[in-house]
Amino acid sequence: MAETMTAEAPGHTPEHHDGEHHTSTGLSNEKLAMWVFLGSECLLFGGLISTYMFNKGRIGPNDVGPEDVFDIPFTSVSSFVLLMSSLTMVFAVSSIARGDLRGNRIWLATTAALGATFVAGQVYEFTAFYSEGLGFTTNLFGSAFYALTGFHGAHVTIGIIMLMSLLVMSMRGNLGPERAETVEIIGLYWHFVDIVWIVIFTIVYLFPQ
């Protein structure tokens, strides 16, 4: 689908790039590598989520627990922001495939900004929880909660850095429609991180017991 889109793109040059390389599967090496990597990431988050579920209830009766600190409306909003960033990421991919470089820059910047908003929300949330008495070392719930959400936050941050790098490349004229697939691959990562958040939000926040 991406290839037909690039073929229609007005700015498209008939140069070969890796997305059109002949490969045994038809997928480019880069895209396949990202899929394979994301497969591995599933097990990373699987391990972290299991660790959280294993440990969240292991707190004393007077300890700070999930229901003492969670602010579901606030986290719902920041989750919504993150999910919207997936939508803008789709716009970024489709705009570059159409050869709309200006649109691509706008959507890349929007996606990065929404991601940054989410991370900022997480930082705020962490400081709020900390002031309410839940530190990383306070109890097992604290350790497990900060480890899981912290790992996710780090993933979002890396995604933002990659988006910003794409944006800089685009500004410098190094991100034309022939590299639509690079944006698409970063998009795969971004969507994955969002999907993981849906799971984390559901398991950690919506079902705290």
Binding site: D18, T25, V36, S40, R58, I59, G60, F136, T182
Partner: protein, 694 residues
């Protein structure tokens, strides 16, 4: 100022235009690519999968000597009752480092050596999918290996070595029970090795899935390719699990988290689960490459195709899946409950089935074959027999009541040495003898090879065979001494003496390498030919040693064992006869027109950055932060590196790099690289036809 501004902005505006050669500029300093393929520098910056494979092998052999020396210290300490060669504290460090070294720094990189060298050749590719990442995997592995091994020396002899066993059970690894830096070295070292293996796994999976030569469908791939592919998938999914476990351990030790803090209500069994969910697939990560190697060697020296190819592949896949469902058989005595014990007992019994299928298929391959007992064949047969012993003692562990008696005794030590030494290591050594002529252009000496095999095999059986008895007598693992009245003295002495016999066998291997190299050079470096063993895989279809570009042209594969079927056909009576001499079929490496990815500085720079971060995490977080900045800068250096050496003419055969590797889009370096090879093969017959017609 304005003038310079204009000169900077000008190229951006013209970038959309077709780029001419005038655009080709030489970037500043570090952003050029290293050049040349001679001398030691070329090894540091190489991205050639064959050189990387050789470096993996050399590094693994070095660590093998380290791990072997540690083993000898263990045996010396246990030679007599109340041994006092090394103290109990040092003993803990020695056996932990022996295990960690042999698993992570010997068997895995040795398998990686074969995977790197052979996978692209066996599927008919020019290189791996991401050559620079491949080099990074190696340097990252070396960084992790150096960091781990340095723990023996820093702060005093074995003062800071990991001392919690290779499985590092919590809460024994907490600061309370293990206050030295040892466990930090363990956690950080394994984390770095994990990054190396993960990157390598992704790279090799993409290579096999995506870069097969035309006609190389999945069921035309050699069994070694299959086993290595399954191994990479196991790595891909197992490594993140131990990554989580190691992070939790690091958080506990560095920042007082509570994951394994029993006082705070933690259940340390979590570590055992996470570790063995990684650890049991890891067992198959260790053995499957050796299975693949044996599946290459036995058909060649039986002069028969592998019996039941599809069953061999399917049993490998079955092992790959079932390997995930047996981890708790390591934990029968940890109180996981009767239901879990029963379930994991049954699954453990079942996983013996696909392994048995392999053993029987190897035997059926040899049955009525025209056997040639060369050194590699001896090693392969050694694997089949020794692994069968180890596999059978493994099945005894699936009987939970029996296993309960054997847990933490020398019976377990005997079992896993039979599968890891008798299976994996013997197989990998057989691989060294088998592919040595392919990699270096001469065979290792057969006399020394056979002698070292027998010395090693006899030493091995008398070292680890008696441990079955010791274990059933009740001798505990990981205890530095035993009393004279416990009745363990005789077999311990036998094992200690025999361990030095193994050491002799290993030294004979190294001596063999030296002698064979010397004799070959003295004889004026005779050419061993592309196919010295009359073998079957595509790797034998090109010159030895393999030229940098692997194959002169793309090979169109039409069936399993394509190369063998090109060499042999059937006459009118159905007898197998030679169809064509190897020299006519095999490529001679004369096509120097193939452009390959340029060497790169960045993989080794990145490896150095990771080493810095590693030591920083252990000793000083500021150093880690500095290392991280350096690392991120290096990643950008990597991304911004030009695709090709600006002085090189023509196009390079760009197999792409990482997803951020922006070299593909450079207008001056693109021009349908993959089209070159294809059109060459497609055009050639047409030209000759014209010639004959004309």
């Amino acid at each position: 100022m304005t003038v310079t501004d204009r000169t900077i902005t000008a190229p951006e505006e013209t970038l959309a235009l077709p780029a001419g050669p005038a655009i080709a500029h030489r970037p500043l300093g570090v952003f050029t690519r290293p050049q040349g393929s001679e001398g030691w520098r070329s090894w540091l910056f190489t991205v050639d999968h064959k050189r990387i494979g050789i470096m993996y092998g050399a590094a693994a052999l070095f660590f093998f000597l380290v791990g072997g020396a540690e083993a000898l210290f263990i045996r010396l300490q246990l030679a007599t009752p109340n041994g006092s060669v090394i103290g109990a504290g040092t003993y803990n460090g020695v056996f932990t480092m022996h295990g960690v070294t042999m698993v992570f720094l010997v068997i895995m990189p040795m398998a990686a050596a074969f995977a790197n060298y052979l996978l692209p050749l066996q599927v008919g590719a020019r290189d791996v999918a991401f050559p620079r990442l491949n080099a990074f995997s190696f340097w990252c592995f070396l960084a992790g290996g150096m960091l781990l091994t340095s723990s023996i020396l820093v702060g005093g002899w074995f003062q800071n070595a990991p001392d919690g066993g290779w499985f590092a059970y919590a809460p024994n690894t907490g600061l309370l029970f293990s206050p030295s830096k040892g466990i930090d070295f363990y956690a950080v070292g394994l984390q770095i090795l994990g990054i190396a293996s993960l990157v390598s796994a992704i790279n090799l999976i993409v290579t096999v899935l995506n870069m097969r030569t035309p006609g190389m469908s999945f069921f035309r791939m050699p069994v070694l390719t299959w086993m290595l592919l399954i191994t990479q998938f196991l790595l891909l999914f197992a490594l993140p699990v131990i990554t989580v476990a190691l992070f939790l351990l690091m958080f506990d030790r560095l920042w007082d988290a509570n994951f394994f803090n029993v006082e705070a209500g933690a259940d340390p069994l979590l570590w055992q689960h996470l570790f063995w969910i990684f650890g049991h697939p890891e067992v198959y990560i260790l053995i499957l490459p050796a299975f693949g190697i044996v599946s290459e060697i036995i058909p060649t020296f039986s002069r028969k195709p592998l019996f039941g190819y599809h069953f061999m592949v399917a049993s490998g896949i079955a092992i790959g899946f079932m390997g995930w469902g047996v981890w708790a058989h390591h934990m029968f005595t940890s109180g996981v409950g009767p239901l879990s014990v029963a379930a994991f007992s049954v699954s453990t019994m079942f996983i013996a089935v696909p392994t048995g299928v392999k053993i029987l298929n190897w035997l059926a391959t040899m049955y009525r074959g025209r056997l040639r007992f060369t050194t590699p064949m001896l090693y392969a047969v050694g694997v089949v027999s020794m692994f069968t012993i180890g596999g059978l003692s493994g099945v005894t562990h699936s009987i939970a009541p029996s296993d309960t008696q054997q847990t933490d005794t020398y019976y377990i030590v005997a079992h896993f040495h039979y599968v890891i030494f008798g299976g994996a290591l013997l197989g990998l050594f057989g691989g060294f003898y088998y592919w040595w002529p392919k990699a270096f252009g001469y065979k290792l000496n057969e006399g020394w090879g056979k002698a070292s095999f027998w010395v090693m095999l006899i030493g091995f059986n008398f070292t680890f065979g008696p441990m079955h008895i010791l274990g059933l007598q009740g001798m505990s693992r990981r205890i530095a001494t035993y009393r004279a009245d416990e009745g363990f003295a005789l077999w311990n002495m036998v094992a200690t003496i025999s361990s030095f016999v193994i050491a002799l066998g290993v030294l004979m291997f190294f001596w063999n390498v030296y002698v064979s190299t010397r004799n070959w050079k003295r004889a004026g470096r005779p050419d061993v030919g592309p196919d010295p063993w009359d073998a079957r895989g595509l790797e034998w279809m090109t010159a030895s040693p393999v030229p940098e570009h692997n194959f002169d042209e793309d090979i169109e594969v039409d069936r399993l064992d394509h190369f063998w079927h090109r060499k042999y056909g059937k006459d009118e009576n159905g007898r197998i006869v030679r169809a064509a001499p190897t020299s006519e079929i095999a490529h001679d490496g004369s096509n120097t027109n193939v452009h390959l990815p340029s060497p790169s500085y960045w993989p080794i720079v990145l490896g150095g950055g990771i080493l810095l971060v590693g030591y920083g995490i252990i000793y000083n977080l500021w150093l880690a932060a500095a290392g991280l900045v350096f690392l991120v800068a290096s990643i950008y250096g990597w991304i911004l590196e030009p695709a090709d050496d600006p002085d090189a003419a023509g196009h390079h055969d760009d197999h792409g790099d990482d997803h951020g590797g922006d070299d593909h889009g450079d207008p001056d370096s693109n021009g349908g690289p993959s089209g070159n090879g294809e059109s060459a093969t497609a055009d050639e017959p047409a030209e000759t036809e014209e010639a004959t017609v004309g």
